[in-house]
């Protein structure tokens, strides 16, 4: 681990080479908003563009996404210039026009001084949910869960996560990691009694032998047993009663 020194908003900051600017900045108390960043995800698609910062390196200054910009020697970062604020505001206003009823986006908009998006709001099919097409859900499913039940479908503003051909996926384990990771709560996951509904499929839940609460889909237990070799009886009780 090579230690280097960079500058953030004029202050000297120690960092590890190739760490992301966003992580270094946050660790040192500089606030940078972000939607599609998740510390456990390596992909760092840089898709929402909310975490833009200004960097100067080798005599060149430009806006970059801090979540996937690697820190290298001599880097200077500014998190709050006029340009950063202006472009971030534009990005957030576009997100608000896309998902006007998302509380997360509404809050972010207020923080960036936006009352209402000036852009035409698309009332068509694209306005059906709060998805900002950041692809974090598909990365969690691939990288963390390891099943790749969903991927990004279509392109342009029709781009959205989904199962192949939008049919119930046979590899989905119903774990809901995608729904938990989603920054805008756009993925519908409904637990009703002993059944969980997600991505158009119903999963039977395992009930805790102590409290009687259904807490994990059977398919997820199968997956964990298969991939880790853990004993099935471990899942008789929910985490609160183990």
């Amino acid at each position: 681990m090579e230690k280097i020194t960079i500058k953030i908003n004029g202050k000297d900051i120690e960092a590890v080479k190739d760490q992301s600017v966003l992580e270094v900045a946050r660790e040192n108390g500089f606030a940078i908003p972000a939607l599609c960043f998740h510390p456990e995800i390596e992909t760092r698609a840089g898709s929402c563009r909310v975490c833009l910062v200004e960097v100067s390196q080798n005599g060149r200054t430009r806006l970059v996404t801090s979540c996937n910009y690697p820190v290298r020697k001599g880097l200077e970062v500014r998190t709050d210039t006029d340009l950063v604020r202006r472009i971030r505001k534009g990005v957030v206003e576009l997100l608000l026009s896309r998902t006007p009823d998302s509380p997360v986006i509404q809050k972010l908009a207020r923080e960036n001084g936006i009352e209402k998006s000036r852009f035409f709001v698309d009332e068509g099919e694209h306005y059906r949910n709060r998805c900002i097409a950041c692809s974090l859900c598909t990365q969690v499913c691939e990288e963390v869960v390891g099943v790749s039940a969903i991927s990004m479908l279509d392109r342009g503003r029709d781009k959205a996560p989904g199962t192949p051909y939008l049919k119930p996926s046979q590899v989905c384990i119903g774990c809901g990691a995608c729904a938990y990771a989603c920054p805008t709560d756009a993925i519908s996951m409904i637990d009703e009694g002993e059944v969980r509904k997600i991505w158009g499929r119903e999963f039977k839940m395992v009930t805790c032998s102590v409290c009687g609460k259904p807490y994990i889909p059977e398919a997820q237990v199968d997956w964990i047993v298969k991939t880790t070799g853990k004993d099935r009886s471990f899942f008789d009780k929910c985490p609160d009663h183990r």
């Binding site: 760092r44 698609a45 840089g46 898709s47 929402c48 563009r49 909310v50 833009l52 806006l63 970059v64 996404t65 996937n68 910009y69 690697p70 340009l83 202006r86 472009i87 534009g90 990005v91 576009l94 997100l95 026009s97 896309r98 000036r118 852009f119 035409f120 698309d122 900002i132 097409a133 692809s135 991927s151 990004m152 279509d154 392109r155 342009g156 503003r157 029709d158 781009k159």
Partner: protein, 619 residues
């Protein structure tokens, strides 16, 4: 199968001498253009007619025709083109012309002037490359091969000096090769204009056992067909360039990524790779030097964005073609995260020229900052359109007025659009601008891959901006917010303006959105997407204002904002417009002024197009 593998550089040279000897002819060679536009206009029938005529006259052993169908000969708007290796070129040739051509031109060396080019102004005819302005003002460094070589015959390429640069390169240290490319000043022809030598050197400098050399043949700009024509017409030049590049950077595997909408290019390139491999010019131990390099052909997935370098690499890997952040460049982490050099088709085709003739020779053409020539697909409202090649630094005016022969139907030259959807519009007032990478960028456009669309006074610049933004909104991969959600908003505002719903402040809102894309988008396509809007606002702001404030389209294009009516003084009552009107809403007696029923007019403009007396007015 006979083993045709050439075991050494000397074997290549003696093979070349042998083919050249066998191709010596008593009669001139007949080159029938086999470019896609000429094929569409019936050049296959012309080639067939030549074959039959030669056979029936018993001339087969004396004429090297071999259905000598070449690559694109350039003058697409006047195809099928037939030329003779000397200075003679015939246009719009039909099968019935063939016996006369054989008799007069092939056997007796006579020129048939009536098959030449007719100057629209002077009415003079010329059947010589030097006498036809379209050709006379070009410099065919890259395109010369297309006009003379049968792309399906590797021997034809070798006979004309093919693979000589490869043989020469093997005697030069790879670092010296990179020096030569750097000194030549060769810049990437795909649009960015990045110095090729710098890219190669960075890739070579990375410590890695595996490196890749890629060719970008995913030409997707509307109206651009340079790379397609080069791949279809002279595939071995591209392959030779790639092998030299691989030798220079130390790569042993290459891919040519070709868009699947180019079936002929895919077919030609596949055949060329197979032939070069069979001859020992690709594969293991090339020309006995111990150097290995192979090329695989990858067909594109049909998305415009796959022409972007990082998306192209993902697509080759079999993943969804989406760009990634390139904070770590692809010379360091490219295909399969390994060091990769990606250059476009035309850039590779320049490499053999530089190695053969030296960097100093190359720099004699073009400008200080942009040496060499550039191939353009000249399209739009010019009199002559097609595939052209001019030295860098040629002015826009020279290209439009000399090569292009000015504007069709006597209208005024208004602007040119360069660089495809990511480029911009340059007005006639700046037409003396030299065409090179830096001048075009400074004017708010870009070289792009080389599409040039000529526009006349009947072109609405707001409508043009709307066209390109709609294209880009359709082709956006959707990965990042500014491009995915910004382009549809821009399209909506432009649509409102062209349909008469424009508001004060729309221009400023567009400019704001343009900034969000320029600074905020993830890849080059998103960040250059505002160019069509920004350049038209910069040079044609008054047109935007006329649409918004006066609800008027000065060019008479935007239907909601124009009315068609007939000038009673100019109308002769010929009835042509009334006959052609699809709504049958033009009435009037013969030899008396006609009238358009505005309530039923759909503003299609047919009446204006057919009127021979310029009596239909648009306001």
């Amino acid at each position: 199968m006979v083993n045709r593998k050439l075991q050494s550089v000397a074997a290549l040279e003696s093979y070349r001498a042998k083919i050249a000897e066998s191709q010596k002819n008593e009669y001139p060679v007949i080159y029938v253009c086999g470019g896609t536009p000429c094929l569409a206009k019936g050049s296959s029938a012309v080639a067939e007619a030549f074959k039959k005529e030669i056979e029936s006259q018993g001339l087969a052993c004396k004429i090297e025709l071999r259905h000598k169908v070449t690559g694109c000969q350039g003058f697409c708007s006047k195809g099928p083109v037939v030329s003779f290796g000397n200075d003679i070129v015939y246009l719009e040739v039909k099968p019935e012309h063939v016996p006369e051509i054989i008799e007069k031109t092939v056997k007796n060396g006579q020129v048939i002037e009536s098959l030449g080019y007719k100057d629209p102004q002077t009415k003079k005819r010329s059947a010589s490359f030097q006498g036809i302005p379209f050709y006379a003002h070009q410099k065919g460094m890259i395109l010369k091969g297309l006009r003379e070589i049968d792309p399906f015959e590797i021997d034809d390429y070798i006979a004309r000096g093919g693979y000589a640069s490869l043989a020469k390169a093997f005697s030069i240290d790879p670092d010296k090769i990179i020096d030569m490319i750097t000194e030549s000043g060769l810049r990437g022809r795909g649009g960015g204009g990045f110095p090729a030598g710098t890219k190669w050197r960075s890739c070579r400098a990375i410590d890695s056992e595996v490196r890749y050399v890629l060719c970008n043949g995913d030409e997707g700009d509307p109206g651009a067909f340079m790379d397609r024509s080069i791949m279809e017409g002279n595939p071995h030049a591209v392959i030779e360039g790639m092998i030299v590049g691989a030798w220079a950077v130390g790569a042993h595997h290459g891919y040519a990524y070709i868009r699947d909408e180019y079936p002929l290019a895919v077919k030609v390139m596949k055949k060329a790779v197979e032939d070069a491999t069979a001859m020992g010019l690709l594969g293991k131990n090339i020309l006995g030097t111990g150097f290995d390099f192979d090329i695989k052909i990858t067909r594109g997935g049909g998305a415009f964005v796959c022409g972007e370098s990082s998306a192209l690499m993902r697509s080759i890997e079999g993943k969804v073609g989406e760009p990634r952040a390139k904070y770590i460049r692809s010379v360091e982490k490219g295909l399969y995260d390994l060091p990769t050099v990606l250059n476009n088709v035309e850039t590779w085709a320049n490499v053999p020229l530089i190695i053969n003739n030296g960097p100093q020779w190359y720099r004699e053409t073009g400008t200080e900052g942009s040496p060499g020539t550039k191939v353009f697909s000249l399209a739009g409202k010019a009199v002559n359109t097609g595939l052209v090649e001019v030295p860098m630094g040629t002015t826009i005016r020279e290209l439009v007025e000399k090569v292009g022969g000015g504007i069709r139907s006597g209208r005024m030259f208004k602007a040119v659009q360069t660089g495809g959807p990511s480029g911009g519009c340059i007005p006639e007032s700046l037409a003396d601008l030299p065409i090179d990478f830096d001048s075009l960028s400074k004017a708010g456009s870009m070289m792009g891959s080389g599409g040039i669309i000529v526009m006349d006074e009947a072109t609405c610049m707001v409508d043009v901006a709307k066209y390109f933004i709609s294209f880009l909104a359709e082709e956006s991969c959707g990965k990042c917010t500014p491009c995915r959600d910004g382009l549809p908003r821009m399209k909506q505002i432009l649509t409102d303006i062209t349909e008469g719903r424009g508001k004060e402040g729309d221009i400023e809102l567009l400019e704001e959105l343009c900034d969000v894309l320029s600074y905020g988008a993830l890849c080059g396509l998103g960040s250059s997407a505002p160019n069509p809007v920004l350049s038209t606002i910069k040079y044609f702001r008054e047109e935007y204002e006329a649409h918004i404030r006066d609800r008027r389209c000065p060019a008479g294009v935007c239907r909601n904002l124009v009315t068609f009516h007939i000038d009673a003084d100019a109308c002769t009552g010929c009835t042509l417009c009334a006959k052609q009107c699809p709504q049958a809403c033009i009435t009037g007696e013969r030899k008396k002024a006609h009238v358009i029923d505005q309530s039923r007019c759909i503003k299609c403009g047919v009446c204006r197009d057919v009127c021979k007396f310029d009596a239909v007015r648009v306001e």
